[in-house]
Structure formats: structure tokens, C-alpha cells
């Protein structure tokens, strides 16, 4: 069931819900009256974010407050780049996400393929262990993981933020389910032609797995880019701050410098907003799958 979700978009398209509009006929306007204010309400926080980032500091605390600034300025961004290590944090987060996504794609698809197609002693037990870990809440792991990382010297380094994103039970599970849904005949033919399993995996299976890999990549990107709790615990050195940790700390220091704070917020959020708008279908498939994995 879950994997079927991947292969088709959960967002309805034209033909099969014409029935819903037929009754209303031309009276579309009624739906717009309902939907437009809701959409605006959801967009409002982001609109405020962009506007405030471009508002001169002198206008923000004025009374009465106004929604639209009279002048737009890049002062907030200039101050942000001058007074914070935002570029460093951005780079750190980009590294964490890039390594996390790459490692996830490679390791989880290998393991997913192994569990789906290969027969070997311990396979059932191994997969059972993976599924069991999905139930364990991260809060339970914080203290021992911190102690563990401290012993190997990872605390306060970027490595501490990277290691938890190298692979996940969810990723292994997702890839296994996907590979199980592929017909095995093609792979058997390749094996008969003398390909090794690794060649079959790389040349035949992976190219077919693009939808599942996209889901996994988005899942990992969102999680690693936005993670706050773990970096908060594991990293106290500003040089190794991630973007999320950086702007959160900044918020504590600069409570009133709103154009500066919102500029930081734009830097932290805009990449994902743009990516979402471009790859909306894939994002939605990811949400649906992560919801239906139970």
C-alpha cells in the first residue's frame, strides 16, 4: 500500500474529481471565498518574514505598527553578514545535509536491496531489528549518544551533527519496500547473463528506484537541514554551529534587532521554500509515505 503511494501523486488532478465541481457549475467563486483567506493566513508568517527582513530597523518598533514598510532596505542582510557567522553556519548545514543525503541514498538502498532480494543467514533477524528501532523515540537516545560521542571526541565538531544522518531505519525500510515492489525477472535475466549482484544493483535496479530515492533524499534533507535538538546538545562551539542552532542562539542575543533576525530566518528557510515550490510533487509523496509507513 505504502509503496503504491510513491508511484502516483496523492494530489488529485483533473479528470477524476470533475464530479466534485460539476454540481457547483460556474459558481467557483464560493470556493475561492473560502480558500483564499485560508491560503493568505498560511502565507502570512512568511510574508511578514520577508517584509521584516527588508524593513529599516527604525520602522519596525514604530507605533502604530504597519504591515508594509514605506522603504525597503538590505541593511538587515548587511548587518547579518557583518555581525554573524551566518555563512559559516550555512556552509556547515550544507555539509551536514549533503553528506547525510548521499550516505542515506547509498547505504539505505544497498541495505534495502539486501533485505529485499538476497537470501542469507540472519536476514530475518536483521530486518526485524531495523523495524524495531523505528519505535524507539529519539529522546531515549540523547543521553547515551551524547556520552558515546563525547568518548570518541565528536562533541563540538561538525561530525557530531553528521553521524546520526548517515543512515536510518526508515530509509532501509522504505527502500526494501520499494525493491520488493519491482519485478524480479529482469534482475534474474541479468544474473543469468553473468552480472554480479552489485552490477545488477547499480545498473538495473537503481535507475528504476528514482522515485523512492527522491523520497528518501527529501526526507533526509528536510530532517538534517532543520534539525535543532541534536545540534543543540552536541555542539557548543560557534564554529561548528548549524544554521538552525546559529539563528536560535542569535535570537537569544539580539532579541530586538528584528530585521537582522528575519534576514537570518530568510537565509535558513528560503532554500527549502524554493526547493519545495520546485519539487512540490516529490515533497508531497514524501509526506504521504512517511505518514503511511506504519
Amino acid at each position: 500500500m505504502a509503496v503504491q503511494m510513491l508511484s502516483r501523486s496523492p494530489v488529485p488532478d483533473a479528470p477524476d474529481d470533475i464530479r466534485l465541481t460539476r454540481r457547483g457549475g460556474r459558481r467557483h467563486w464560493w470556493w475561492h471565498v473560502l480558500l483564499a483567506p485560508i491560503a493568505l493566513l498560511f502565507a502570512l508568517p512568511f510574508i511578514q518574514m520577508f517584509l521584516t527582513a527588508l524593513t529599516p530597523a527604525s520602522e519596525i518598533n514604530k507605533f502604530p505598527p504597519r504591515l508594509f514598510p514605506t522603504t525597503l532596505t538590505l541593511d538587515g542582510f548587511e548587518k547579518l553578514f557583518a555581525e554573524s557567522d551566518i555563512l559559516r553556519w550555512l556552509l556547515n548545514t550544507a555539509i551536514v545535509s549533503a553528506v547525510g543525503v548521499t550516505a542515506h541514498l547509498v547505504l539505505c538502498s544497498l541495505a534495502g536491496y539486501g533485505f529485499a532480494r538476497l537470501r542469507f543467514p540472519g536476514r530475518t533477524f536483521g530486518f526485524f531489528a531495523v523495524v524495531a528501532t523505528i519505535m524507539i523515540p529519539t529522546q531515549l537516545l540523547m543521553v547515551p549518544t551524547y556520552v558515546m560521542f563525547a568518548r570518541v571526541g565528536l562533541i563540538d565538531t561538525l561530525g557530531a551533527a553528521i553521524v546520526p544522518w548517515l543512515a536510518s531505519a526508515f530509509g532501509i525500510f522504505l527502500m526494501r519496500q520499494f525493491f520488493l515492489s519491482l519485478p524480479a525477472e529482469l534482475e534474474e535475466a541479468a544474473v543469468l547473463d553473468g552480472c554480479s549482484r552489485l552490477q545488477v544493483f547499480g545498473r538495473i535496479v537503481l535507475p528504476l528506484a528514482k522515485p523512492a530515492l527522491a523520497t528518501l533524499a527529501i526526507f533526509t534533507l528536510l530532517g538534517s537541514w532543520n534539525d535543532l535538538v541534536w545540534p543543540l546538545i552536541a555542539i557548543n562551539d560557534p564554529a561548528s554551529f548549524t544554521l538552525q542552532l546559529g539563528i536560535t542562539n542569535f535570537q537569544g542575543d539580539r532579541r530586538t534587532d528584528w530585521s537582522l533576525l528575519m534576514a537570518g530566518n530568510v537565509v535558513a528557510t528560503l532554500p527549502l521554500i524554493l526547493f519545495f515550490v520546485i519539487a512540490q510533487r516529490q515533497f508531497i509523496a514524501t509526506m504521504t509515505f512517511s505518514g503511511l509507513k506504519g
Binding site: L35, L140, L192, L222, G264, F276
Partner: protein, 321 residues
């Protein structure tokens, strides 16, 4: 070095199987079984090591820690079930549980109903529908850090948008995050803003799975829009509703991020949740043993809720899991 050898062996391991149909790849001789083992584990071991090393191993260690009193530096002392006993009489923990329940009660029904309502609204073809969907879904990518900054700005008592709107309507100004009785409500509202996309998307997928014939039949039988929703659509959505509710409850009782980035547990500890308390106990007070016990308590509650709902839905023949 070791991995190269394994790689070479892995390749050759396939030769004996190459001429056999799939059913016969079941390893026969001891040698073949060993080759299959090396090959299989070669594929799964790297990911498995990371996943188990970062979950089952620390989970067992956390249980061990929960039986001790330890600050992370000095020698741990064995306290047996002492930490678990202390939880029973811990007034701060009891308050945190209360705040967490308050948030769960506010957030879960609201998010389920909002998701269902938005899905019903968005499940149609209209000009601009794509724009509406994007506007409602895009907050899903906002991090807790970003949401926290936006929340403190929008709900700032002096110049925030929320009070500006109230002022324009000639309604009394509110303290929002600075008012102990309102802070959790504000956090709930912003959680809904960020997570509405999730429940909406799940419900949209479920709506698409309802057979068209059912709704057609209801219409032919003369059902109006409300009747066909209540008698056809709503019952069809039941498994998804059970599933989404459990999922949101599990998420709600783990609330931490947004509290950290808005109120840090205040004002007057009004937003101190279980996980916030856990984090403080572990990493501010350095009570590693006690924090681990609290974490296990939370884990137990999660398991009981999930297990209970799975059993209930099996008995009620609602196949949510």
C-alpha cells in the same frame, strides 16, 4: 583490505547461482551458504551497523543509566529503581506531564480536523487551486528555529501582527507568549501552521482512494452533499483518522523544539513539557540517570498508546495498521 577481499568473494559468490532459477538460489552446501552470507551482509552491514549502533545500543545503555545516579563525570552510583520511584513524587515532572497533556488535547483534535477540512476543500479542480495548495503546504518546510522567531515576532505584545489586528477590531490586547494561560495556545497555533500540510496530504491521499462508484451511488440515491460526506466519505476515512490521531499524539507528547525556540519553558514554567524537562534534567542539571528514567517513562507511555489503539482498531475492524 578486508573489504577488498570481501568484494572479490562477493563477486565470485554469484557464479554458482548464475545458471539456477531463483528458487534454487537458496544456499545448499555449507560453502555456498557462507558465500551468500558474506554477500548479503556486505549489502546490509554498513547501514545496519549505523542504525543499530545509534539506536538499540544506546537504548539498552539508557536503561542501564536509568538505574544509576550519574552526572557524566564522577563515578556513577547504583540506585536500582530509585530514579523511577523519584518520578512518582516529582512535582516538576507532574507539572510537565500536565502541560504536555494540555498541548496534546489542544493540538491533536485541531490538527486532525484541520487536515480533514483542508483536504476536503483542496480536493477539487479550480483555477488557482495549485497556488492555494502551495500556500498551505509550504510552512511544512519551516524549521522549529524559524517558526520560533516568527512566533515571537507575530505575537509580540507591543508591535506583533496578532495584537495589531485586535487593536484594529477594538478588542483588548493580549500578552500571548508572555501570558502563562495563553503561551501554550500560541505554540499550538504555530504547530498547526507548520504541520497542517502533513495531515492534509494524508487525508487527500485517502480521499483519492475512495471509490468513485460509492459517491456516485449516494448521489443517485438522492443524498445531498452533507449526507454523502457523513454516510460515505467520513466512514471511509476512519482508518486514516485513527492512524493520523495516533501519529499526532506521539508527536505531541514529544514536543520540545518550538518550546525551546519560543518560551524556553516559561512564562512561570507554563510551557515546560516532558521532553523539555527531560532535556533540562539531562543537559542543564546533568542528572543523566534520572533523565534516562524519565525518557523510559515516556517510551513506555508511547508504547502503551500505540499498542492500545492498534488493539482497539483491530477489534473494531478499522484497519489502520
Amino acid at each position: 583490505m578486508a573489504s577488498t577481499t570481501a568484494g572479490v568473494r562477493r563477486r565470485s559468490a554469484l557464479l554458482p547461482q548464475a545458471h539456477a532459477p531463483r528458487a534454487a538460489t537458496r544456499p545448499g552446501s555449507r560453502k555456498e551458504r557462507r558465500r551468500a552470507g558474506i554477500q548479503g551482509w556486505g549489502f546490509v552491514a554498513p547501514a545496519l551497523l549505523i542504525v543499530l549502533g545509534l539506536s538499540i545500543f544506546p537504548a539498552v545503555w539508557a536503561f542501564w543509566l536509568s538505574l544509576q545516579s550519574w552526572d557524566g563525570f564522577s563515578t556513577p552510583t547504583w540506585v536500582g529503581l530509585g530514579n523511577y520511584q523519584a518520578m512518582v513524587t516529582d512535582a516538576a515532572l507532574r507539572d510537565a506531564v500536565g502541560h504536555t497533556i494540555l498541548y496534546t488535547v489542544l493540538f491533536v483534535p485541531a490538527s486532525v480536523l484541520l487536515g480533514m477540512a483542508l483536504a476536503l476543500l483542496l480536493n477539487r479542480t479550480l483555477p488557482l487551486i495549485g497556488v492555494y495548495r502551495t500556500a498551505i503546504f509550504v510552512p511544512f518546510v519551516a524549521s522549529a528555529a524559524a517558526t520560533g522567531i516568527l512566533t515571537t515576532y507575530l505575537f509580540n505584545p507591543q508591535f506583533g501582527l496578532a495584537n495589531t489586528v485586535l487593536r484594529a477590531l477594538h478588542l483588548p490586547q493580549q500578552g500571548w507568549l508572555e501570558d502563562p494561560s495563553q503561551a501554550m495556545v500560541v505554540i499550538t497555533l504555530m504547530s498547526l501552521w507548520g504541520q497542517a500540510a502533513f495531515t492534509t496530504v494524508i487525508y487527500l491521499a485517502a480521499l483519492q482512494d475512495i471509490p468513485v462508484e460509492l459517491l456516485e451511488a449516494a448521489r443517485i440515491d438522492g443524498a445531498n452533499r452533507w449526507q454523502s460526506f457523513w454516510h460515505v466519505t467520513f466512514p471511509q476515512l476512519a482508518p486514516v483518522t485513527v492512524f493520523v490521531t495516533v501519529w499526532q499524539v506521539i508527536g505531541a507528547i514529544q514536543l520540545f523544539d518550538l518550546v525551546y525556540t519560543t518560551t524556553r519553558g516559561g512564562p512561570l514554567d507554563a510551557t515546560q513539557t516532558i521532553v523539555y524537562y527531560l532535556w533540562q534534567t539531562a543537559f542543564k542539571s546533568l542528572e543523566f540517570g534520572y533523565a534516562s528514567a524519565v525518557a523510559y517513562g515516556l517510551f513506555a507511555v508511547t508504547l502503551v498508546i500505540t499498542g492500545g489503539v492498534v488493539l482497539y482498531s483491530r477489534r473494531a475492524k478499522v484497519e489502520a495498521f
